[in-house]
Symmetry: C2
DNA sequence: CCAAAAGTGTTGACTGTACACCCATGT
DNA sequence: ACATGGGTGTACAGTCAACACTTTTGG
């Protein structure tokens, strides 16, 4: 070990910031938390926090999600590492961005005495955000849309059993377009990712819809479609 | 500013490591540099270095490429941020991985007195590498192959003017498969990315090949093909 | 004139897209 | 009975994949 300490001298603050997507009331929403500290006190921000010593990046992201929204078993994927945080008034900070997907009902807001206010915000009317989190969100949305088209990550947004309408609506909401019912079904079934159960779901005065489930929980890479 | 210094207290070493791809002698090669310091002294490693105070991540990558291989104007893209560097004997290090593309003749090895030995290594027979750089390379290769199929980044590996054979060979070498000459040309021309010049390139006793050039230097996102 | 790479079209298979009606249920 | 979303097939168009011979040059 002739390595001099000097080479290793400069150190940097590192944060992990996660864009948590979920679907609620037929809208794509993200989890934001009002900051209770400066800078940007009072503005909503992504679920984030400083990386602690000897902590893995992904573990830090998971820790923050569990602490702030009771989240467990989410789909989590690293996005990009931003240094726009040079705009952080406290000085340079490296921010490793993640994105997460979860069904709405897995989010449990903890109401402890801290003034932090977590909430779900529709992507359609986002308020002004802390830091440059706006651009991290834009990046995450782009990635989400791309991945939806060539993987089965939709799995992570849906309950274990779901109707074809729910599945299709998930795609429509995220991609922002209308899809043809028959073509959608045809393609999706041909992929072999889902199969029908013998259960049905009844919602009011309509014909009950058959419930389906994903055959594999593993995230699969598929050929691009649409 | 009620922010306590505590929140910001933990600091981390951050390195930037770049996988530089180029094509030489009909092979895909990467730039590696023999380490002259511990740890892993003597083993080849990616072009990398510590992020300096107040330096942007991308600037750090560019600085290292310019210093170690005289590279200018490369295509550079952030890959992923690794914390496998927990295996670094010196302690935890965050490594932001980049990948770069450049034509072979843009690489100029500087032979200063330092014992660093930069060189191009074929991906087919890589030696044992320092750190976990093997896995960064695997990741970069995956990304390169994917991007080749839906963007025009091939542009960054070729000279300003090139023959169709060169272009096709670039794809074949990177993707590791043989492509049909007519189908390749048909698709590529239909994208409108390249156009023919009125110049020809003569290589020995064959019919001279027409030279083409890219119409736009901007990296375009295309629909996936192949 | 020979070797070597350049250049050039057609066909069949497949995949994607557009499109409309009957069904089962709750009220 | 009716309103509501559930469920189903076909035909056309566009894209992809396979395939072989002639041309031009240098030696």
């Amino acid at each position: 070990m002739t390595q001099k300490k000097l080479d290793n001298y400069w150190q940097h603050s590192v944060t992990v910031d996660t864009v948590v997507f979920t679907i609620e009331e037929n809208e794509l929403k993200i989890l934001l938390i009002k900051r209770r500290n400066e800078p940007f006190r009072g503005l909503p921000a992504l679920a984030g926090g400083f990386l602690q010593p000897n902590e893995r990046l992904e573990d830090a992201a998971l820790r923050v999600l569990a602490d702030k929204a009771g989240l467990q078993n989410v789909y989590l994927e690293q996005l990009y590492t931003f240094d726009e945080m040079f705009r952080d008034p406290r000085g340079p900070v490296i921010s490793v961005g993640y994105f997460a997907l979860t069904p709405r009902n897995s989010i449990v807001f903890k109401n402890d005495k801290q003034i932090e206010e977590p909430g779900l915000y529709s992507l359609k009317h986002l308020p002004k955000l802390a830091f440059d989190h706006q651009s991290i969100i834009a990046y995450a949305l782009k990635r989400l849309r791309a991945k939806l088209e060539y993987t089965n990550i939709a799995y992570s947004l849906l309950p274990k059993q779901f109707t074809l309408s729910q599945l299709q609506k998930t795609y429509e909401i995220i991609l922002g377009l209308k899809l043809d019912k028959r073509n959608f079904l045809k393609k999706y079934l041909s992929l072999g990712l889902i199969e029908q159960t013998d259960k049905f779901f009844s919602a009011g005065r309509q014909r009950p819809a058959r419930l389906y489930h994903f055959t594999s929980k593993k995230i699969a890479e598929l050929k691009r479609w649409f």
